[in-house]
Amino acid sequence: MNVLWILLLPMLGTLVPLLLAKQSRSRNAWGTAAAPALALAILLSTTQSVFSGEVLLQQWQWIPLLGLDLTLRLDGLAYLFSLLILAIGLLIILYARYYLSEQDSMPRFYSFLMLFMTAMLGIVLSGNILQIWLFWELTSISSFLLISFWWHKSEARRGARMALTITGGGGLCLLAAFLLLGNIAGSYQLADILEQGALIQQHSLYPLLLVLFLLGCFTKSAQFPFHFWLPNAMAAPTPVSAYLHSATMVKAGIFLLARFYPALSGTELWFLLVSLTGLTTLLVGAYLALFKHDLKGLLAYSTISHLGLITLLFGLNAPLAAVAGVFHIINHATFKASLFMAAGIIDHESGSRDMRRLNGLWQFMPITATLMMVAAAAMAGVPLLNGFLSKEMFFAETLQQHLLGALSWIIPLLATVAAIFSVAYSLRLIHDVFFNGQPKGLTKTPHEPPRYMRLPVEVLVLLCILVGIAPAMLVGGLLNSAAAAVLAGNLPEYSLAIWHGFNLPLLMSAIALAGGVLMYVKRKQLFDFQSALPGVDTLNIFEQLMKQLTRGAEKLYNWIDNGSLQRYMALLLTAFVILAGLPLIQMDALGGGRAEIPIDAVNATGAAMLLISAFATVVWHRKRVVALLMISVVGLMVSIAFTRFSAPDLALTQLSVEVVTIILLMLALFFLPHKTPKQSEPSKVVRDLGLASLVGIIVGSLSYAIMTRPFTTISDFFIANAKTGGGGTNVVNVILVDFRGFDTLGEIAVLGIAALGIFKLLTRIPVFKPSSDGEGRPWARERHPLLLATVAQSILPLALMVSIYIFFRGHNLPGGGFIAGLITAVAIILLYISQGVDWVKARMNIEYQRVVAVGLLIAFMTGLASWLFGRPYLTSWFDYFQLPLFGEIELASAIAFDLGVYVTVVGATLLILASLGKMTTSYRPTHKEQL
């Protein structure tokens, strides 16, 4: 349970600052700090077991079939990172209490900060790679929120957007890499993947997987050429820079390199990509840092450079180098976070971060100056400080590798060059800010910060010194267990001593220190050289690129989605022709050899009528009423075809739907133009004809190919069980209300939804009511012909009786709820047509949307009823009873379900038609009408 709380406490802590929003600032800060402090205590309680090499694993199953579990895994590496995240996080909370001004919303800041902390802990503690990815994305989002915390500043918004774009893009690459990884390893569990190193590296997709993985890591850890987002993210408040952009988030990429070190490292490709990227970043970052006038800008580039150093170490494919990498992660986090916080103090107390104006601050803030000097010295690699130790190890490792063959000596050389720059910019940081004359044009007089604002810096600087003097005692265990986790247990021999005798690494350190001092003294020439180079405004270039990308996407989008249904249809149908046509071409013969039924005169006549009326519909489609009449013939012929080919249920349904459809379209024509103007160019007509013919040919051929092939059907099961299992002899109906009852429930739900949608569409419609037909003839004055009215009225009870009969016999003979519902609806619609809405409304004032609801409810409850008997949803029941006069009758739960279908169909059909019909009357639906 422990490990879960480490993650859960900060997650709950996200809410604390919001709940304490009304309290004083200090209370808010203390309240916020409580959760991570508790989590830290829990983490420290696991120290013993983690250091002894134990891996604490906790797992909760979520969707085991998909391999999705909540897995938490605490080993040495996770412990190290959790410690950094929680401990530095606590210091940052304290620091931010004093850093944020009265105008800044403290609860919002703390809440974002805790969200970030949760996400970061999630990455390091997850034991499932998809889970890692989820938290990975969450860090990108919370970092976006934190960078844009001062959203009123344009640079903050732009910097946040850039950071999100770069790290988010990397996150997508990482997702692809993780999916590949999971597929290759056959599991998304971290523990499984780490054991499959050999298998993964021999897989043909390993290069792709590695590149995608590294893209994710490098974007996050600001490696060249993706480094440019980090300096722009410095628009964030300084606590954020100290926490996210030096100590934790930018190390997430490095963390992944370390985490997957056992599975992915050791290959030539890994070395080339990782170490060369790291080396380039190390050099570029160190060089550019020297020329930044902005205090935070200098620190940002220095961070980039140090991240490059760590990456280079992990790329060297040597166990000792990995140990050095882990060690430098610890050291960098301590000295860089303290430097950032000190820079924030200077900014806060003097009102500027520009090193051209900040001079001689020593006299105003000697304590802060001392702290910053120690931290900067650690960064430069001065002996007796922690930075010296890891840098020494780094130099030793660059000398050990022979990966570039005869040119291997280049790596230690370039490493020394980078170290020279590192010393030079550290020196500049100290000399420029605290000495070098007097401050120029500061808005306020600098002074020491509040006592507790300096405390976090003091703690970290103290650590720098202590680790520098007694490394083995302080971080020996931590480093051991973390490095063991990275190297999967194969920890090499190493010594954390301060003094290793006179050797080459020591010489390199000495050269770096001397060279750095020299470079700083001679900086004038270097600055002149650099200022002669054309400046690169990465933010503007990036935004221009983004704009172009957006414009290109817009263009493509507008080309595809130009608002023309014809365009979409043409694209869709072309795709269909290609996808369905190609397999047909590859087939040897269309016919499948099944004997055809001979054509008789009746069938031939029917087919001819069908073809002629379909053709007539197309030819006369401009005269809409005529087209409507023609298509009704098509519908009739289709229902006759169903009768002919042994499908009476279908024929009945088609017939009644046909009537309803034609009435609906007639009604619609009242509101639409009666003629279609000739508009298409001939070429377009030819194109459409061609496309339509192709689709027709393919569909017809497919149908022929299917019909002439012998087949077996799963229907034998339905036929065998309809009577014994469903209690009915009409198999079609039994399938609908029993075997596939759940489908039918879904279908009537769709019907109801469509009807409701139509009802809503017709509400408050600014309708145009034509006073004459398309030819300009006025409507007939006699609105409700007497003859029709009389017939309709007398037919109604007969029709209702027929529909009841059809309904009840449905289970055993052709009929059922669908058909009965349609017949009832048609009878009532006839009444509407003949007598008018007012007449019907006076006699039958029903809201059809309620009818639909009742129908759906009946069907739904019938299904539920089977739960009462401990059976699965929609299990059917039937039995036979003897009744006097009637004889034996059957009662089946399917009848109740069918009743639901019946009521829904009646309600939906009438809702559709009556709503449209009412449009011409005073009963037009408006918002006032009850919904």
Binding site: L611, V634, Q679, I714, E747
Partner: protein, 118 residues
């Protein structure tokens, strides 16, 4: 018979598709109706044609395949709901936008339309 039936399905499909490619709402609705006839017949035919197949148990040994029939039965009803929705959408679109185009062209004054057809 199968040949003729397939011919009918293909022809109905072609007619439906052609109408659906027109630039106004009403022909599209008619086209969709026609296409749904074709699709229903297509699904129905996948159970093979059977002139004298039994549909009710106990009347004959040779049964018409009931499964495609059950599928098509609901397809007919849903098809009606869809056609209805589409046609009401067309009415609403005409009421709100003032025209019944689906070809993506902006509502243009009458004389401009005439120019476009040239």
């Amino acid at each position: 018979m199968e040949t003729l039936f397939a011919l009918c399905i293909g022809f109905l499909t072609a007619c439906g598709v052609f109408l659906m490619l027109r630039g106004r709402t009403f022909p599209v609705v008619v086209g969709l109706t026609m296409l749904s006839y074709a699709v229903n017949l297509f699904i129905f035919a996948s159970g093979r044609l059977n002139l004298k197949g039994a549909v009710v148990l106990g009347t004959s040994d040779s049964y018409a395949d009931p499964l495609p029939q059950a599928l098509v039965l609901t397809a007919i009803v849903i098809g009606f709901a869809m056609t209805a929705f589409l046609v009401i959408l067309a009415i609403r679109a005409r009421a709100d936008l003032g025209n019944d185009h689906v070809d993506g062209s902006m509502p243009a004054p009458r004389h401009a339309k005439r120019e476009r057809t040239k």
